[in-house]
């Protein structure tokens, strides 16, 4: 493999240079100064996820053609609001997967955090304590995951699967398997508050994505995440504390779960052990169709978020057209495959 790389890989590799680099570096070998705005645009996260953008565009065209309410502002905001919770989880998941791990526990850690934050006892202390509880539970679960994986050398799949199961159990235990109504007016108001006509949850979502993007692409933490996901041994031999970093990755994911827990408690006005069922799979699917390697080391946050939007838009489209759930599921599966196929083709065509 020393002489030449396979063409597909070589092409894929070019696109790995993360956005951070692209902007710091005006010229690049091959076509220095002639790079058009378009080419530069293609090098952004969205550009490298052309396939997904195209799928999203097709979905929008279908939406506009089949449902006259699709293109309304309120419907688009509904899509974004629906996307916000799974979107926040996906941000954490993207970190973990790029860092070479996997977190199956996100959905149920979120459920546990939402339950913990909405018990009668917690609610009696007011919204600040509720938020603190949710975040602390999320971070705590992430910490346990991370320590088990990094220091206990448990395979991430198993450690987080165990967390999924026990978080579910604990959530059921605490809630007595009931839905705990949010009576605190501040928390309940989050979902119904709008700023400049846009729901507060959408701002939360945007803020988490923005912070996540900056951390992933502009900080040493993000850079090391790519490094340990790309080659754990090389990173270790370069003097990076890979175990501590791994713990932190799961803590980030847990923190996202905590944030999502507050959001879902507000959106559904309950904390419940039934929240977040199978969210981990939706989040993983979004990350993967967003172009992140399941083995780690490569990926973009923008791609993951596009993946989430594709999923949410599909659900919205089908409900607008009053189609039954089973049809939705068939189409969802097909669209996942189509998006991934299209994605890899598009990447190959735009080295």
């Amino acid at each position: 493999m020393r002489d030449l790389e396979r063409p597909a890989e070589a092409a894929g590799t070019t696109s790995t240079a993360a956005p951070a680099v692209e902007q710091d570096r005006p010229a690049r070998a091959g076509g220095p100064d002639t790079r058009s705005t378009l080419a530069r645009l293609l090098d952004t996260g969205a550009g490298r996820n052309l396939g997904l953008v195209a799928v999203l565009a097709v979905l929008c065209v279908i939406g506009i053609a089949t449902a006259d309410t699709f293109a309304t502002t309120s419907n688009l905001l509904t899509i974004l609001t629906s996307a916000s919770i799974i979107g926040v989880l996906t941000v954490g998941m993207t970190f973990v997967i790029i860092g070479g791990g996997i977190d199956l526990s996100v959905g149920k850690v979120m459920a546990l955090a939402s339950v913990w934050a909405t018990t009668l006892a917690t609610q009696s202390y007011g919204p600040a304590v509720m938020v603190f509880c949710a975040l602390a539970v999320g971070v705590g679960c992430g910490l346990i995951n991370g320590v088990l994986i990094a220091y206990g050398r448990v395979v991430p799949f198993i450690a987080t699967l165990a967390m999924l199961i026990s978080a579910q159990g604990l959530a059921e235990r605490i809630s007595g398997k009931r839905s705990q109504i949010v009576t605190d007016p501040t928390i309940a108001a989050i979902a119904s508050t709008r700023v400049l006509g846009i729901p507060l949850l959408v701002y939360f979502f945007a803020a988490v994505v923005a912070v996540g993007w900056v951390v992933l692409n502009r900080t040493t933490f993000g850079r090391r995440t790519f490094a340990i996901g790309g080659n754990l041994e090389a990173s270790r031999l370069a003097g990076i504390d890979v175990r501590r970093h791994t713990v932190l990755l799961y803590v980030v994911s847990g923190l996202c779960c905590g944030i999502a827990a507050i959001m879902i408690a507000s959106l559904t006005t309950t904390g419940s052990s039934t929240h977040g069922t199978l969210y981990e799979l939706d989040a993983i699917a979004a990350v993967i169709i967003g172009g992140t390697l399941l083995t780690g080391g490569r990926g973009t946050l923008v791609g993951s978020i596009l993946g989430v939007l594709v999923f949410t838009t599909i659900t919205n489209l089908f409900i607008l057209n009053n189609l039954a759930t089973e049809v939705q599921n068939i189409a969802k599966g097909l669209i996942i495959v189509a998006a991934v196929l299209f994605q890899s083709r598009a990447q190959r065509a735009n080295p």
Binding site: A67, T69, T72, S74, N75, T78, T81, S82, W116, A117, T119, L120, A121, T122, S124, Y125, V129, F132, C133, A136, V137, G140, E172, I174, S175, G176, K177, R178, S179, Q180, I181, A191, S192, P199, I264, L267, T268, T269, T270, S272, S273, T274, H275, G276, T277, T315, N316, I319, L320, N321, N322, A324, T325, E326
Partner: protein, 354 residues
């Protein structure tokens, strides 16, 4: 070096302290006891009349799915509570499970323990029929709760709700109310539970049949998944599809929490909504009359309490004293009541906390 070590030590100590503090604070937050102890809302009839008189002591075995929903949780709680009301009943509940084979094994354990009667809410009626039959052959009467066995040989008495009737009640309430308001061509939405379940299909069928008797039909219809989160998601999107609604039926009050949240978040109030199952939350909302929820049709988990009462009577060889027959009937279908603001006070004690 010493400085950094000290700094590190201090940092570690602080981190540890924060961790411990957070842990203590968190642990304090798991309590769900209401500050002022409200009476346990477990519904049930205090024993009265001839049937209440203690008979021979009997042991009643109980097996139900693991609670993943407020309704199922209420089933177990109701059965337990009703059993405690009888001095002559020993109640043996096996560990609830959502695994069919485990439930079969659990029931077999109860058979081997020679309980006097069994109350079974199967995970799946068809798949537990054989074990029901085995119990009956072993001389243990089975009270089949709600999800019916395939063969009448598998149970002595069936008691359950009326899914079709629930749909009919909801349809009738909506139909009458819209007709009285003089609405023509109303847009009626339906938020179902899990579409693949027969009970959901029966509820929808009843709803459709009842509405068509008023000349109305169902507009937007989506299935959620019996969770608040699913209800919220589906409703938020459905409201986008339908800029104007006249009425909505939501099959399940537990997912109704999310449905109501979505409606409030969308600032919609031009229609009224009917719930399903009859949770305490829903009833309180109906009583308060500050949401679009105006009624709910019951599918009450109190049936579990009744099932225990029936099992006791059967095991003791007694009939229901108000009936002429000497035996307990072979089948009892509960009527689905429509709870509105007018009669909610009467039902509130029966509501289950979802």
């Amino acid at each position: 070096m010493p400085e950094t070590t000290a700094g590190l030590g201090r940092r570690r100590f602080l981190a540890g302290a924060v961790g411990v503090g957070a842990g203590v604070a968190l642990a304090a937050c798991t309590s769900n006891e209401p500050p002022a102890a409200a009476p346990a809302p477990n519904a049930g009839a205090a024993p009265a009349g001839d049937n209440a008189e203690p008979g021979q002591p009997v042991t009643i075995g109980f097996s139900a799915p693991a609670a993943d929903h407020g309704w199922i949780a209420a089933i177990a709680a109701n059965a337990q509570a009703q059993a405690q009301r009888y001095q002559d009943v020993t109640f043996e509940a096996v560990n609830p499970t959502n695994d069919i084979t485990q439930q079969i094994a659990a029931v077999e354990t109860l058979i081997n323990r020679r309980v006097n009667a069994l109350v079974i809410l199967p995970n799946d009626g068809s798949q537990l029929t054989s074990v029901g039959t085995r119990a009956m052959q072993a001389g243990i009467p089975v009270v089949n709760l709600d999800r019916i066995f395939d063969s009448p040989l598998a149970y002595r008495t069936w008691i359950g709700g009326d899914n079709y009737g629930m749909g009919v009640s909801a349809g009738n309430y909506i139909g009458t109310r819209l007709r009285d308001q003089g609405v023509t061509n109303p847009v009626i939405a339906e938020i179902a539970g899990i579409d693949s379940l027969p009970l959901t299909q029966q509820r929808s069928q009843g709803f459709q049949d009842a509405l068509s008797s008023y000349g109305f039909s169902i507009g937007p219809r989506q299935a959620a998944d019996f969770t608040a989160q699913g209800g919220q998601r589906v409703t938020a999107n459905l409201l986008q599809a339908a800029p104007r609604l006249d009425a909505m039926w939501n099959h399940d009050d537990d997912q109704g929490i999310g449905v109501l949240a979505a409606i409030q978040q969308a600032n919609r109030s031009e229609f009224f909504m009917v719930g399903g199952a009859g949770s305490a939350n829903a009833m309180r909302a109906i009583q308060a009359d500050d949401t679009v929820l105006k009624a709910t049709v019951t599918y009450s988990p109190t049936m579990a309490g009744s099932a225990v009462s029936l099992a006791r009577l059967i095991a003791q060889g007694r009939g229901m004293t108000d009936l002429v027959e000497r035996e307990v009937p072979a089948s009892i279908t509960l009527a689905s009541a429509t709870i509105t603001r007018e009669n909610v006070g009467q039902y509130l004690p029966l509501g289950f906390e979802s």
